[in-house]
């Protein structure tokens, strides 16, 4: 951290806030201490300073005082700079504290802390904000390294490329995406948008992105089509199909608790050895239901349908292979 730079930037903000006319770069150099004499050096430093202020969200305006002026000048309009009047009641501040803590250990923790600092500066009492009833504590994590760049890409409407390892594929593939939104569903992050290579709408899971996410176009170059509901896209992509196929299982008495939860009927099996129940249930997909049935080991036997029965036998043989 450079104290001189902080002082210079602060001087620049105060200087531009206190003027209603646009100030030329030269007038700024006269007014704000800390800029070098040499023109080239000054130019470079001033450019960087302007960029830093814009990154902070300072609304730096460029314009001409007179149509015949040669060079543009700069100013910060007080009204554009200031946070509007914001009075928070104690209960509102409490909820705000809760909301800021949601990101505690995640990508947006810094942004949430920055917002709190400004709201405290506007008069919010920090004691109110920490007083939230501790009865509920939600947290969002962003362990996926792709979250940061994709959030920026969606915010700034920029296309990105990344390599993606689709489920069950061994080799990652290069994708080029116009991202429309980032969604968290069931604790996992997804990005949805137009896949340029496939010219179609696609949803990607951030945890399956391998390596860096790179921008491949300027800000503002992505248009989100009207009526797109990113949340719906992800829900459709992720949702479980309906359970429509019937299955009959033998389940050892006192076991298969999770399985019995969804049973259509359960009755004691009086045909074979005692200690077993006949459970009729419904399932959506042979593969995933076979996984589930196999996980109960010797406590569950599939009687019907035959393809489900074969699939379970294959899993179990796979264990011994």
């Amino acid at each position: 951290m450079s104290k001189r730079k902080t002082e210079r930037l602060l001087g620049l903000v105060v200087c531009l806030l206190s003027t209603s006319r646009y100030l030329s770069a030269d007038q700024i150099r006269q007014a704000v201490p800390g800029y070098p004499e040499q023109d080239e050096l000054f130019k470079r430093m001033f450019e960087r300073d302007k960029e830093d202020l814009r990154d902070l969200g300072v609304p730096l305006e460029t314009g001409l005082n007179h149509p015949f002026d040669d060079d543009p000048g700069y100013r910060i309009r007080q009204q554009a700079y200031e946070l509007p009047e914001l009075r928070l009641e104690a209960d509102e501040a409490a909820v705000l504290g809760l909301a800021a803590r949601v990101w505690q250990r995640a990508e947006l923790a810094g942004a949430a802390a920055g917002a709190l600092m400004k709201l405290r500066a506007a008069g919010m009492d920090a004691a109110d904000e920490q007083s939230a009833r501790q009865a509920i504590e939600p947290r969002l994590g962003t362990p996926e390294p792709a979250f940061g760049p994709l959030w920026e890409a969606v915010r700034d409407r920029r296309p990105v490329t990344f390599s993606y390892r689709a489920a069950g594929r061994s080799e990652p593939q290069r994708r080029e995406l116009e991202p429309w939104g980032v969604v968290n569903r069931h604790g996992r992050w997804y990005v949805a948008g137009r896949d340029r290579g496939r010219d179609a709408t696609r949803v990607f899971r951030l945890g399956r992105i391998a390596g860096p996410v790179k921008f491949c176009g300027p800000p503002g170059s992505v248009t989100v089509p009207d009526g797109v509901e990113v949340r719906e896209l992800v829900r459709d992509w992720d949702s479980a199909p309906a359970r429509e196929h019937p299955a009959v299982l033998r389940v050892r008495s006192g076991t298969g608790v999770g399985l019995r939860q969804h049973a259509v009927s359960v009755r004691a099996d009086d045909t074979g050895t005692p200690g077993w129940d006949l459970v009729t249930t419904r399932f959506a997909d042979v593969g995933s239901f076979a996984d589930y049935a196999a996980s109960f080991g010797p406590d569950v036997v599939v009687l019907d349908p035959p393809d489900l029965r074969e699939a379970v036998i294959a899993r179990l043989k796979g264990v011994l292979a």
């Binding site: 830093d52 080991g297 264990v319």
Partner: protein, 322 residues
């Protein structure tokens, strides 16, 4: 001094002046605590603000302040009397979290929530509209857990004990227990009840999607003094020295396992295969996982778990020999 950048410090300085102005007079210690800095750092900040000088057209110092006797006062703030408006990321972080909170069942104060969202949207202006376009949204897991969460919220508010019928998948077992509920946690999109379990005589977390039944009892909730909530920011599940290290080898089809369960280590093998190490206090669920994976996942260690999985598979196959 901590490693803050020049722009981070500038943000703090820009907030400091309106912070004092809105309070008229405020103590050094309280201010330092609110900004998360030491009093020494705060005094450095105040000196820096006081020294700001503009040289043209006429030299003057725009900010005048004092901090005598440990009390800060700003007598002249020029145009810096109000904080900078919220940046897009700042407005988004709060609004996204608030919209998620608004959807949570079990949250009592909905009126404060909607008033706050409206005020923030108004104050953030354009930055807020960008956050709506950003469309970061959160869906919570667990159909049918809404009613449960509301019941738990009410039990906590009323200070009542609850009775749970709770499913433990690792042992494929439904357990009955009385719990003094303390908090509702939502971590990684999954709701949990945190409370003092009278059966285990310890703090326990219960996933709401595994609660088979819940009754609010007439007894008052009375967690003992040693019942302290977990620090959610340190992670819900902490490794214990008694944990078993389980090593698994996954095929390309079985890679999802590494996404689902927190792994101690993950290493790539040829053909998209993975070798992972998990730590767990209870290997029951790993045995069930291995049976489900079939040839897509193989337990490599520890040896007794390898044998257990093979025995279970052999016994299960015997059921199919008619």
């Amino acid at each position: 001094m901590s490693a803050v950048t020049s722009t981070e410090r500038l943000q703090r300085l820009l907030a400091l002046v309106p912070y004092v102005v809105s309070r008229k007079v405020v103590g050094l210690a309280e201010t330092a605590a609110d900004f998360g800095v030491s009093e020494r750092e705060l005094v450095d900040d105040l000196n820096l603000l006081w020294c700001v000088e503009l040289r043209a057209p006429d030299p003057y110092c725009p900010i005048d302040l004092s901090y005598e006797g440990g009390e800060i006062m700003v007598s002249q703030a020029e145009s810096m009397g109000r904080p900078l408006r919220l940046a897009v990321d700042e407005a988004s972080a709060l609004l996204v979290a608030l919209r998620m909170l608004a959807e949570l069942p079990g949250l009592e104060d909905r009126s404060a929530m909607s008033r706050l969202i409206a005020k923030l949207e108004a104050a953030a202006g354009e930055a807020a509209s960008a956050s709506a376009q950003v469309a970061v949204q959160v869906d919570l897991q667990g159909d049918g857990t809404d009613g449960l969460a509301a019941q738990i919220g009410a039990a906590i508010a009323a200070g009542r004990r609850v009775h749970l019928r709770y499913y433990v998948p690792g042992r494929d077992e439904a357990t009955e227990r009385d719990v003094d509920p303390m908090r509702l946690l939502v971590v990684e999109g999954r709701p949990y009840l945190e409370g003092w379990c009278l059966r285990a005589e310890g703090m326990r977390l219960f996933r709401l999607d595994r609660v088979l039944a819940l009754t609010v009892l007439d007894q008052a909730s009375a967690p003992p003094p040693e019942a302290t909530p977990v620090d959610v920011d340190q992670g819900l599940f902490r490794p214990s020295p008694d944990d078993v290290h389980v090593e698994l080898e996954l095929s390309a089809t079985g890679r999802w396992v590494a996404e689902y369960y927190p792994c101690e280590s993950v290493s790539e093998l040829p053909d998209g295969r993975l070798r992972i190490v998990l730590r767990t206090p209870d290997t029951g669920w790993v045995r069930r996982l291995a049976l489900r994976l079939g040839e897509d996942g193989r337990v490599i260690a520890p040896p007794d778990l390898v044998a257990e999985v093979r025995d279970a598979a052999t016994a299960a196959l015997a059921n199919y020999v008619v």
